[in-house]
Amino acid sequence: MLKRNLTVLFFLSFAVAPLASGFVYAGLYSFGVIGALSTGFTFNHWAALFEDQGFWSALALSMGVALFTLLLSLGLSLTLLLSLQRELEQRVNYFLLHLPLALSSLVAAFLSFQWLGNTGMLARWAIHLGLFEKSQDFPELINDAHYFGVIFTLTLLTFPIFTLLLLRFYQAENLSSLSQVAATLGASSKDIIFRVQLPALLRRITPTALLYFVFLFGAYEVPLLLGRQSPMMWSVYVSQKFKKFNLSDLPIAYSSTVLYTLFILLLVGWFWNKAAVSKAEQ
């Protein structure tokens, strides 16, 4: 009993209290209750946040980038798995699939910067091969309006993980045998993919995919190096508010932190329900 209570206490102290106290602090700061420069309770900082066009575009952009990256990664890894499942299970290939795990977001962003920029490696090869004349002719792939560089890099970091997970689910669900049975019973290969393999794999990966949506939503290092000043992704937006020049922006930084927290609470709460439902369905 004591062990149980101690464990719960430990869990609450290290997993819950830090975030909770940070949330309360940010909340008080955002309403001007605390802070060295505060002049008393006010809604002004919240109003300023909602009036800031940069905030709304950060929100929309983060959603868009996270969604795009997620769908792209899922599509890529499912295609890979369903067409190359046997090859990927081979020992060497299986190891190679792990390689991107050794790259941190920061290093991956640096590499994209070096490769995709207007004077990067790709542009150099393209010019070398006579496809373009000058560096300006090369399309903008980083710091670009569509966040291509960011989505590309995040996808490259995400899809190998999805592929590995799917490979594991494929085995756990015994999909090889199931597909064989289906084939014996006369199912076409299209049927096998869309009626047997895909539903099983998607059901298993949904919780992880949703969680990744939240991770991607909060991505920081990659958009910091490969994104733009406008629009910015949310993590970058918040950290800019904390770092940039106007001291009176600080409470706004805290209000955007509070909002981010609420947003994550909502997403995780929703995700947890969803996961519980999908588990119940299984």
Binding site: K3, R4, T7, V8, F10, F11, F14, A15, P18, L19, G22, F23, Y25, A26, L80, L84, Y94, F95, L96, H98, L99, L101, A102, L103, S104, S105, L106, V107, A108, F110, L111, F113, Q114, T119, M121, A123, R124, H128, P160, L167, L211, F215, F217, G218, Y220, E221, L225, W234, S235, V238, S239, A253, T257, Y260, I264, L265, G269, F271, W272, A276
Partner: protein, 253 residues
């Protein structure tokens, strides 16, 4: 066709490592050169030896932080999960553990920075250790939640019925069975910590110089060759760990 796709895919995966090494030994590699024009040399690596102490200590700091955080979070997560996974409020604990796990580390760091200032922990190695523990411990708890399944519980119960003490059950049954899972968890926490930039930069104030902090600094200087060296130092140890894991842990896919 399959072979071509695989070849392209793995070339894409291997290329970054090769490129980082090449960039770190290129004395100059300007646009529009597709390969470094001058001879390759260890000039940039050699320049490290002048400030060599910094580099070694950076490498050591990263290894120390990731190692300690890996051990602490894995152990604490394992023990906590063992208790919490059969707790009556099991569902609540899982949900609570997801919040910090899903949070953007850099925003989390801004939330934590006040408390860390009050406790005099900012800018210290201890502060970074604790902050990263706070970030990774919920992850470890979640990681083990599914590990303690019905089968394992029944095995424990059986051993107890047969007269084994709690200690014996823990050391002789639970630990040996969980060895692989523990190693994988340690590996993942180690990676999260080893790669972390956002949290370490805010809580460590740049005074705790892990390799990630160095990489960012050199990118900021547009000092790409030295940044490539830092990136090599940051990327190759996990590569070795991966290989080690592949050899000894992931044997059965």
């Amino acid at each position: 066709m399959k072979k071509v796709i695989l070849a392209v895919l793995f070339a894409l995966f291997i290329l970054p490592f090769g490129y980082l090494v090449l960039l770190s030994v290129a004395s100059s590699w300007r646009f529009p050169e597709v390969f470094p024009s001058q001879n390759l040399s260890l000039i940039h690596w050699a320049s490290l030896s002048r400030t060599g102490v910094d580099w070694l200590s950076s490498l050591a700091t990263s290894a120390l932080v990731a190692g300690v955080v890996g051990c602490l979070s894995t152990t604490a997560g394992f023990l906590s999960s063992h208790v919490l996974s059969i707790h009556s409020s099991r569902k609540l604990w899982i949900t609570l553990a997801y919040f910090p796990y899903a949070f953007s580390p850099v925003i989390y760091a801004y939330c934590l920075s006040f408390m860390f200032n009050v406790l005099d922990l900012t800018g210290t190695l201890g502060g970074v250790l604790i902050a990263q523990f706070i970030l990774t411990y919920p992850f470890a708890v979640l990681f083990f939640f599914n590990h303690f399944d019905q089968q394992l519980r029944e095995m424990e119960a059986l051993a107890r019925t047969l007269g084994s003490s709690t200690t014996v059950v823990f050391w002789k049954i639970l630990l040996p069975i969980s060895k692989h899972t523990l190693l994988i968890c340690f590996f993942q926490v180690f990676l999260i910590s080893w790669f972390d930039y956002g949290l370490t930069s805010v809580i460590g104030l740049g005074q705790v110089k892990t390799l990630s902090i160095m990489v960012y600094q050199y990118i900021g200087e547009a000092n790409i060759h030295v940044a490539a060296i830092a990136a090599c130092l940051l990327s190759f140890p996990p590569l070795v760990l991966l290989w080690f894991n592949h050899q000894f842990v992931f044997k059965k896919v």
